[in-house]
Amino acid sequence: MGRGEGFVAHKTVTFTQECAIPVERERLWDFLMEVPKVARCVPGIESIEAVDASAYKGSLRVQVGPIRLSLEGTMTVEEQDRAAWRARMRAEANDRRVGGGIRARMSLTLAPGEGGTRLRIETDLAILGRIGEFGQPVIKKKADALLEEFAHNLGSTLRQGG
């Protein structure tokens, strides 16, 4: 509860989201590698801009009741292994006003599934500073909901030929 601006790391939360996307693996992979297109499927995304070939900066809005977080940061694609159908990303974002941020490592794997592809997203999420103090469990629930909506949006976009 102190008033300093230093970030204190809180526990890392790990969660896994799996969803069925109704397109075949190759098409899903190609789509996922186009980060700005994928970003548009993330609920609350406000902006996304390429910095270089594998790094992007952007901002994301997350709401918990009346509390609005505006997370600004960067996302980097660390690994793209088409042969193994696996990609890894790293994201760092801060909310300047509240004083806190998130550090996330995500690992995406694509497996053949009923009607298309099973997309599995494993996330290690560290919540730092003020945000962590007040709402680590809440943020975890929000992140789960966010990923679920993301998967749903992904499916719709691809079904519409995006």
């Binding site: 009741g65 009346p66 509390i67 006003r97 509240v98 975890k140 629930k141």
Partner: protein
Amino acid sequence: MNAFEYAAPRTLDEALAVLGEHGDEARVIAGGTALVTMMRQRLLSPGYLVSLREISGLDRIEAANGDVGIGALVTHREVETSPLVQERIPVLADTFRRVASVRIRNMATVGGALAHADPNQDPPVTLIALGARVEIRGAGGRRELPVEEFFHDYYESALEPGEVVTGVVVPRLPAASGAAYVKFLPRTADDYATVAVAATVSLEPDGERCRAARIALGSVGVTPIRALAAEGLLVGQQLGAELLLAAGEAITGAVDPLNDHRGSAAYKKEMAAVMVGRALTQAWDAARASSRTRP
């Protein structure tokens, strides 16, 4: 804290008008314990605060047709020490007494507690078990809602923009009823429960079998919840170890607690079942005692 405009109107209509004028930017402040703390941490930055403190008429505790009406500006401490509440609904006085410290209870209001919608708070749990209703006013008029329908998500209530809680109505419990609030608080790092349970039990004229029961839990999810499945198991039954076990199992299936510093989700699930057993036993015993004192 951010800079903000501040108004302290003298009537509810004025307050509603100001709220309507400023929409999203305005927030209501009553006792301010939750709001100011969150503003100091910059979790909230409203541009306009509308204080309800100078509005008269919302700070009464009154009996009407057997129900007890508690105005939104009544403080926690006033509920705790009210002779009317202590006599008619002692479990509610007990519950408000469990909140934080006397200082906080002197400032925090009943309406503010409901509007804050933190699932770890004490009063909503007991209010749900008592079958209480929230009274709401907005520019469009008044409406009422059972407390169990008032909470939508973490920090999210059924209040529409521009609406305020004006009070809470607690119906009279039927004859041969007992109630209990159990707050499981193994740590003192903060004051919110690891798990909390409120139960009301009403008995048949035989003074042994359950005619109706209500069970509510706090700190077991993103809102306080009413455990309908567990309640259903109790009707027509006598209190016994097996019944409590069955109720506990139903509870375990009904709750979805969050992992936090007060306990893991698994631990809270287990403790929810245990505390439901304790709350039911206390409420049942109180109901038996109450049925014996009646002719």
